[in-house]
Subunit: 143 residues, 2 copies
């Protein structure tokens, strides 16, 4: 299973530790196409690419992905853009939102019936829900 | 011409004055479906709606719009989501980014060939470019 993990880069890296934990967990279930999101040095390592190269690489990965998991506690144009494109492409999407985040979740994410949203206090609470979500997709893909 | 203006609400209201100026300018060219984005009281006035009602209203407006104009100086999941869905729907999109913004523009916005991005120092600099963009769409729609 190919998993596209979405998390904020330029919108703010406050939750980068949580992204790294999530990516480690997701690796048990398949290939995480966007491992770099959890890298504490991602801003520097992306400087070797042009903006177009980053965009085209990410959109190629998004189109290849079987599922999208997005951490949405930090406002981010990129994460919103990826979710919007994935909704239009009919991808299964799971969003994770920290109830103690500095920003209230966008109504366009929280109010969309195309998205599954989990509110959490601690990231480990989301693991069983993520597993359930991924297993249901895996079975559907095999069926 | 129906214009969908996108600007941050829950991601932060630092640029709400600029949104109001842009909306006033855009009204010369057609119907701005999302006038409330410039309203200083938007957070309170939206409390009368459920999250689903806000999402469904905005996505209906987005589907009806002839063009999308997005102010992208504030990271925002909602604005990113709207741009992502509009790209997939093939809408003409113009993004406006303040070169002095607190956050660097997402590579998914700056690196997309489906988007037109204008960098500005002062919002009034964008007006002639917006006019050119809207007039080209108007002519194309009539042609």
């Amino acid at each position: 299973m190919k998993i596209y993990f979405a998390g904020s880069i330029r919108g703010g890296r406050k939750n980068s530790g949580i992204y790294a934990q999530l990516i480690d967990f997701l690796k048990k279930f398949g290939e995480v196409l966007t491992c770099h999101i959890g890298d504490s040095n991602v801003r520097n390592s992306e400087k070797q690419f042009t903006e177009k190269e980053i965009h085209d690489r990410d959109i190629k990965w998004l189109s290849e992905a079987d599922v999208v998991i997005a951490e949405v506690s930090t406002p981010s144009l990129g994460v919103g853009y990826e979710i919007g494109r994935a909704v239009e492409a009919g991808k299964p999407i799971l969003c994770l939102y920290n109830s103690h985040a500095d920003f209230e979740l966008s109504a366009l994410i929280g109010g969309s019936e195309s998205l599954n949203v989990i509110n959490y206090d601690h990231i480990s609470e989301t693991f069983s829900e993520i597993e359930k979500f991924l297993n249901s997709r895996e079975l559907r893909a095999e069926g």
